[in-house]
């Protein structure tokens, strides 16, 4: 090939994965065969088919053809959007995804599955519309291709004669006849005869970007008509195409050049890319290890704006230096301007840095989006009625974190659907609505991304877990863990409480792997459950590289950052509100609540707390339902900070949620309020 196709193939694959995701989403939303939705799905399939054909993935293109035909019938109203049809299409989406994965990784998709789904689609087509006229408009020139032939024209003619006369602007749309001929060549022996009679005689009439050529191609071999049509799929509206069987093995037309490279050179630089579905922001690719990412256009616009500001500031500074040169008497005023300018420069630079960092942050919707499908499938399989609610899909997490979040979440949601939610009859008997609720919610809290998976199912039976754990030797006979501790045992290896091992979950591996994965991301997972009411799994993940609104504090010599959302209020103590318990544990009475006062300098340096001054400055902060009052020496400004982990080059430091770099280049630690509360209570109980 004359140019490196690999990059275009990557783009094709990425867009195809996005297309599949969109197809999936739309299929799930396809209530009553809404024509607009169907159109969207059809376009996705069409793009994939065309792209696959262009890049030589014949099998994918062929498979998608069937899907596309079925979709076409549906949008023409010839086929109902019945649940089994939708399910078949969803299955086809999976098969296609597997095939595309195989194409990307150089493997092969399970041929049995591909063949089966293909057969099912064909069977579906067979029993729906007997007359299969409703295909994509046949190309001019007597395309009599029928869907029945997609199975293959075995025993058909020994070859085909193809007359291909592109319209003048074929190459302007990025199509390249040479590429098509190359694909045809793979199907058999190809003889090409180029017809030049449409070339204008006069140079004035000649536009080099027009295609003035036509070709007669003779393809010898076992290729089917469908295979040939696939090759011309993208151009069927832009050419006259006539495909007819060769009556006999013909003698190659004398003098015909084997391949004409000349015309291809013109179009070669703009290979056709499939029309990307207009997915913005939300839907991303699912390929976990993809090295490219989608970025919200808004973030890029913000970057451009900031660079613009930077340029303005720079020209302002240049202007000041020129004025100083011209008129040194204005020194004072100019220096003032210079200071302002430099301040602005600093701010712009910092903002620029922050926005660059924020590019790595992606909405968690990219993971959440796969769950409607998952829940739809599983609940259908199990005969359960489940409503899935997604909340906080636009919570941003670091790309790396998100990529590793998918599998654990799939497992947890499956568990909730499989083990959590009961069968409709069971629910009705328990006086609950027949439709079970599963909620997936993400939000930021205290330097963490928290993801909750809640269900209103039957909950966990603590006694049974305990019995199992004792059997497995995880809990000794003399140990009596409390309910909360028992529930956490499900994360231990080898403890599955499923009554029966089902196809979906409960294979004995699972929760321990989930916990390990989440630990690997520096997070943790906890389970709360109430029998009969449901369960709640809480995953906490660090916000590596993420951006947060922070309040800057001065404690002693050091500047710290506390997440703004953790702050309840900042106040100056009233002497009568400070109580000393046991003489050394200061509590602050805030309205009706007693809050421990934490001397951070003492807590961090492990020294004795210094006596509380009469009017101390306190920042009351809350995390995990615990409140602490931090003694601070000064409240500085508020700003957005980029959270950096200390683990990259060191390790996690208790009491901190990472560090950030301040405007002056100094490192400031970010306080982890929950951790501080834990540390403080640990010390206090010991001290008492």
């Amino acid at each position: 090939m004359s140019i490196d196709m690999a990059q275009f193939i990557d783009a094709f694959l990425e867009e195809s994965f996005e297309g599949l995701e969109r197809m999936e989403t739309e299929l799930l939303a396809l209530d009553d065969g809404d024509p607009e939705t169907l159109n969207t799905i059809f376009r996705c399939a069409h793009s994939i088919k065309g792209g696959a054909g262009t890049f030589g993935f014949g099998a994918i293109s062929g498979f998608t053809h069937g899907v596309e035909t079925l979709l076409d019938r549906m949008r023409n109203g010839e086929q109902e959007a019945a649940p089994d049809t939708v399910n078949l299409l969803l299955r086809a989406v999976d098969t296609l995804r597997a095939q595309l994965h195989a194409a990307r990784d150089g493997g092969e998709a399970d041929p049995a599955e591909v063949a089966e789904v293909r057969a099912l689609i064909e069977a579906h087509l067979g029993d729906a519309a007997p007359a299969s006229e409703a295909r994509t408009p046949p190309a001019a020139g007597g395309n009599d291709g029928t869907d029945a032939s997609s199975g293959g024209d075995h025993g058909g003619p020994r070859g085909w004669r193809i007359h291909f006369q592109p319209y003048a602007d074929l190459m302007r749309t990025g199509n390249d006849p040479l590429r098509m001929f190359e694909v045809l060549e793979e199907l058999g022996t190809l003889n090409v005869h180029c017809e030049t009679d449409r070339l204008p005689d006069h140079a004035d009439a000649f536009d080099p970007e027009d295609c003035h050529l036509a070709w007669t191609l003779e393809l010898e071999g076992d290729a089917t008509r469908d295979q040939i049509q696939e090759v011309f799929e993208w151009v069927e509206d832009e050419c006259d195409l006539l495909i007819e069987p060769l009556e006999a093995v013909s003698v190659p037309t004398a003098g015909a050049p084997p391949l004409t490279p000349e015309p291809a050179e013109m179009g070669a630089t703009t290979p056709r890319r499939p029309e990307a579905p207009a997915a913005r922001g939300g839907s991303g690719n699912r390929g976990a290890e993809s090295s490219s990412m989608r970025v919200n256009a808004g973030k890029i616009d913000a970057l451009i704006d900031m660079v613009g500001e930077l340029v303005i500031t720079q020209s302002m500074l240049t202007d000041i230096s020129e004025q100083l040169e011209e008129d040194p008497s204005q020194m004072e005023a100019q220096i003032e301007r210079l200071r302002t300018g430099l301040g602005e420069l600093e701010r712009n630079t910092r903002e620029l840095q922050e926005s660059v960092m924020s590019i790595r942050m992606v909405p968690i919707a990219q993971v959440f989006n796969r769950f409607p499908r998952l829940v739809h499938d599983i609940s259908g399989q199990l005969g359960k009625q489940i409503e899935l609610t997604l909340k906080g899909e636009y919570t941003e997490v670091d790309k790396t974190v998100m990529e590793h979040l998918g599998d654990p979440l799939v497992h947890l949601v499956r568990n909730a659907v499989d083990h959590g939610i009961e069968m409709p009859e069971e629910r009705a008997a328990a006086g609950k609505p027949e439709t079970g609720q599963v909620t997936l919610e993400a939000f930021h809290r205290g330097g963490n991304v928290v993801i909750e998976i809640r269900d209103d199912g039957k909950g966990m039976d603590a006694d049974r877990i305990l019995a199992k754990a004792r059997d497995a030797g995880l809990v000794g006979p003399n140990q009596h863990p409390d309910r909360h501790e028992i529930l956490q045992l499900i994360f231990e290896p080898g403890l599955s409480t499923a009554d029966q091992v089902s196809d979906l979950s409960g294979r004995g591996v699972g929760m321990d792997v989930v916990k390990k994965n989440i630990r690997g991301l520096g997070g943790n997972v906890e389970l709360e459950s109430e029998p009969g009411k449901g369960s709640r799994l809480t995953i906490r993940l660090p916000l590596t590289l993420s951006i947060m609104d922070g309040q800057l504090l001065k404690i002693g010599e050091e500047t710290f950052v506390i997440p703004l959302i953790a702050i309840v209020e900042s106040l100056q103590t009233l002497p009568e509100s400070v109580k000393q318990v046991f003489g050394k544990l200061p509590l602050y009475r805030l309205r009706d609540e007693y809050i421990p006062i934490v001397d951070l300098a003492a807590l961090f340096d492990r020294t004795e707390p210094s006596p509380l001054p009469e009017r101390a400055l306190l920042v009351v902060a809350e995390a995990d339902d615990q409140r602490v009052a931090l003694r601070v020496d000064d409240l500085l400004g508020q700003q957005q900070v980029v959270i950096k982990t200390l683990e990259t080059n060191f390790r996690k430091v208790p009491g901190t949620a990472g560090a950030t770099i301040l405007g002056d280049g100094q490192v400031a630690l970010i306080l982890d309020v929950a951790g501080i509360a834990r540390m403080a209570s640990g010390r206090d109980t010991r001290a008492a």
Binding site: R606, K644, R651, G655, A659, I661, V667, M679
Partner: protein, 173 residues
């Protein structure tokens, strides 16, 4: 000093020899594999980390990366030295099991770059002190000077993290 180092770098190590950057700590010379040296910086006050051993001075910002700073004198249980204009921080790449870390070590001064053949590296005697012998790759004699070649992956790797963990465990127990 740093200039000496850059000059010597132009003499490539011959086969069987490795290049070592040496630094001074209390008059003695110590060597580290030069391929692990990322850069040499002047001393700047780091941001202290809570509940860490005294030899972990804190963290600094190196072009947007948060890097811990370890005082080698304190690490080896020596008398601390007032940080002055010649105090330098050597940024080292420490290769661990999971990942590579960058750490800065505070030393009195940077000295030389030497080529040392592996057969000139003698095994270290048992020190039996706070410097575990596994931190020492060997002893070499160059120009009548003894150089203690350090294994920074052990010195700044799991051992250091573990000792820090022990202190933290004590703090939060």
């Amino acid at each position: 000093m740093a200039n000496d180092a850059t000059q010597s770098i132009h003499d490539p190590a011959t086969a069987g020899e490795d290049q070592y950057l040496t630094f001074i700590l209390a008059e003695e010379e110590y060597g580290v594999d030069i391929l692990r040296v990322q850069e040499i910086k002047g001393w700047e006050r780091p941001t202290p980390l809570p509940n860490t051993p005294d030899y972990i001075r804190g963290v600094i910002n190196v072009r947007g990366m948060i890097v811990p700073i370890i005082d080698m004198r304190l690490r080896f249980g020596m008398e601390p030295l007032e940080y002055g204009p010649t105090t330098v921080v050597i940024m080292l790449r420490v290769v661990g099991e999971e990942r590579e870390r960058v750490m800065g070590v505070v030393v009195d001064a940077v000295s030389e770059v030497y080529n040392i053949g592996s057969d000139n590296l003698q095994p270290a005697p048992d020190f039996g002190t706070r410097i575990g012998v596994n931190f020492v790759r060997g002893l070499a004699t160059v120009e009548e000077q003894m150089i203690l070649v350090l294994d920074i992956d052990t010195l700044l790797g799991p051992g250091l993290i573990a000792s820090a963990d022990a202190i933290e465990a004590e703090a939060t127990a």
